[in-house]
């Protein structure tokens, strides 16, 4: 059962104020995935303070890195159910977890950060995992 929207609003804003695009419907998710050029990060947000309480600050830290994805979007698990289901349909056979983050390059899933690599980690450690993936997949080729 979704939580009170007033309770969840600050958790949404913690990402949207960073410039992360919030997708509320399955149609919005499909439109976002339809543009598959370049690199894209999909964040599955969650109310769980144990894990998401560190995940959202980790995104803020990671977005200060030199290399970042071209596009970043989020859906809210347990709140925007159809949008979350639509996003997870693009994760192949990876089991659902929230919070989690999926990095795509040219439409291909290249890096996935499941909940268990978030829930016992500091925001700095999660950000380090993310930025390592950004360096690998989002950095401009040397000499470009």
């Amino acid at each position: 059962m979704p939580y009170d929207p007033a309770l969840v609003a600050p958790m949404r804003e913690e990402l949207t104020r960073l410039g992360v695009q919030e997708l509320l419907t399955a149609d919005e998710v499909e439109q976002w995935f339809a543009d598959s050029d370049g690199t894209s990060l999909m964040i599955i947000n969650s109310v769980c303070g144990c894990a998401a309480g560190q995940a959202r600050p980790s995104v803020a830290l990671a977005l200060q890195h030199a290399a970042t994805p071209n596009r970043i979007a989020t859906v809210f698990a347990g709140q925007d159910l159809e949008a979350t289901q639509a996003a997870r349909a693009h994760f192949g056979d990876i089991p659902p977890s929230s919070p989690s983050m999926a990095l795509f390059k040219d439409g291909e899933l290249v890096h996935f950060l499941p909940r268990h690599r978030i829930d016992s980690q500091s925001a700095e450690a999660i950000a380090s995992d993310l930025t390592a993936a950004f360096d690998r997949y989002c950095a401009a080729p040397s000499g470009a």
Binding site: Y3, P10, M11, C50, G53, R56, R115, H116, D119, S120
Partner: protein, 92 residues
Amino acid sequence: MGLFHDTSDPLHGVTVVIETTGPELWVGRCNRVEPDRVLLFESDCYVDGRTSGSKDEWLKRVAMVGFHPRHPRLELARDQVTSVRPLLDYAT
């Protein structure tokens, strides 16, 4: 900012691997470890001799991408539990 819960258990909210005295190996989100029980939310289980593939292969994949939460809530008697460790410890 987040929704916090009614326990200060250090493993609360952490995805853990639970080894047992039986053939079952559980993976799930720990709610709390108490003197007489361990409470998990959203767990999955490897059963030696029943689940396909080896336990190490199953655990390796779970540590890489996660698991399907087939059991919404599970209580394990503490005397059946031989270890409780974060799943992250199994990731390489």
